[in-house]
């Protein structure tokens, strides 16, 4: 008999289906150092996360080439468990095409990661990214915040064959704009990675856009994997929807 997924959260039992953490990191932010990667993988094992897609925190802070190297090294250390995003930035336009071309030679890179650093995503500097994503069928994950996706929806509309994943959907409790974008754009997905867990928001998203438009990420090592997975396990939605959010939708998008 299948145990209801909420019981896994209530008992701390390891999940028994392939969970995909599509938004995680390696490296550290400034205030303190992250636990070592093996501890992160140990938490994946304990919770039952099969696969994690990571970008480098240091890369997001501007050390782009080194960051992509670190992401590749993490994937090499844990083959089949850790995959990588190729991170590029509008602030370093000369690195965009060379880094994308370099990363794609490594099959561990499964997507492209962008951050909000002041340049809107509909700025022409990003045109090479969309062309590359289309050609190599790579989903694009962007950090977004508070419902202001700084043009990510506009480029999603222009490039319907590319999967656009809006990170931190619902952040700042700005849930309506995210739901509206995901409803209106077939290739626009909500990534629930977010420290906070606003009451009724996951249920709202599922009702408004459906689980096939929602993906799950932990933001580890910034946040705890078990906390992030727990908010889905305890959500008042059907188990089939939880399975889609925790892995099914991402496996389809990333061809895992």
């Amino acid at each position: 008999m299948n145990m209801p997924l909420i019981e896994f959260g209530r008992t701390g039992r390891t999940l028994e289906f392939p969970v995909v953490d599509m938004h995680a990191h390696i490296g550290s932010f400034a205030p303190s150092l992250s636990p070592p990667l093996e501890r992160q993988v140990a938490e994946m094992d304990r919770v039952g996360v099969a696969v994690q897609l990571v970008s480098s925190v240091e890369g997001l802070f501007g050390d782009i080439v080194w960051g992509n190297d670190q992401a590749a090294a993490a994937a090499a250390r844990f083959p089949g468990r850790i995959f990588a995003y190729c991170h590029v930035s509008a602030q370093y336009p000369e690195l965009i095409e060379p880094e994308l071309k370099r990363c794609v030679l490594n099959p561990a890179f499964k997507g492209i990661k962008l951050y909000q650093v002041g340049t809107r995503f509909d700025h022409p500097v990003f045109d090479a990214v969309w062309a590359f994503a289309r050609e190599w069928r790579l989903p694009v994950l962007a950090h977004t915040w508070g419902g202001d996706v700084t043009g990510f929806d506009k480029v999603a509309q222009r490039h319907p064959e590319v999967a656009f994943l809006a990170g931190h959907a619902g952040s700042g409790f700005a849930y309506k704009p995210y739901a509206e974008m995901a409803r209106n754009l077939p290739n626009f997905y909500l990534d629930l990675t977010y420290s906070r867990e606003h009451t009724n928001m996951i249920e709202y998203f599922v009702e408004e856009v459906g689980p096939a438009k929602i993906v799950w990420g932990s933001d580890a090592p910034t946040f705890s994997i078990s906390q992030q997975v727990g908010k889905i396990l305890y959500a008042r939605i059907p188990d089939a929807d939880k399975r889609a959010i925790l892995g099914g939708t991402a496996r389809r998008l990333f061809n895992l």
């Binding site: 959260g9 209530r10 008992t11 701390g12 932010f29 205030p31 303190s32 992250s34 636990p35 501890r39 992160q40 938490e43 304990r46 919770v47 409790f173 849930y175 420290s195 906070r196 867990e197 606003h198 009451t199 009724n200 928001m201 709202y204 580890a220 090592p221 910034t222 946040f223 705890s224 994997i225 078990s226 906390q227 992030q228 997975v229 727990g230 908010k231 889905i232 396990l233 305890y234 959500a235 008042r236």
Partner: protein, 247 residues
Amino acid sequence: MEIIDAYCGIGPWQKRDRLLPWRPEETLGLMDHFGITRALVHSNFTSGGGNALRGNQVLAEQVRIEPRFLPAFTLTPYPHADEPSLAEGLAAMKAAGSRALWFMPVAHHPVREVYGELLDACVTHRLPVLLNRDITTPADVAALLRDWPGLRLILCGVGYMEDGWLFPLLKRHEQLRVCVGQFYIPADSPHRFLREFPAERLIFGSGHPFFSPGGLLANLFYADLPEAQREAILGGNIRALLEESRL
């Protein structure tokens, strides 16, 4: 296992988002879903800027109806002679069975001059004092702990990148506790915390109605902890603090 949510607001408040629950029966329904036995409740009305007398009145009415709610009153030190005194406020707390204080200092008001008597009383009566991180600063928390070293302070709403100032304060002030509620969920938690501090310093609280406790509960149930520690964090610690209260 008795799970007690130490960080739970009930009732209406001014700037409510329509997605959020506010009726006590909604809170009770969610407590059932999450397996929460009892909740230490404060007034949403008061924490949202409404006057504490009305907020306390609503709390007292609710806890009379629902024994799963344990009240945490807020006392405002009023300036005028025709307003309720601190002694009257403490008597009202005692009458309602409130054994903890939801502290609501106003930003930039001088703490010793305005809140000194209230905080002295909290130390004397061993009242646990809950303070929301959103309305204070690390420097103000440090000053509070320095000036009232006996204060049983529970800091709620601490964020995932705040260990840099939080851990030094925890090392220096034994009476400081951290509520794991809302978003104190750093990587490798709660193990990283427990390698340095006893489980008695962590207290479970959800941040209801703004936040949902599922992730926090799963975080504690997946954690590789002795059951006694898990039970302490999820309810035993706040229960012990409330029982030690001498009001």
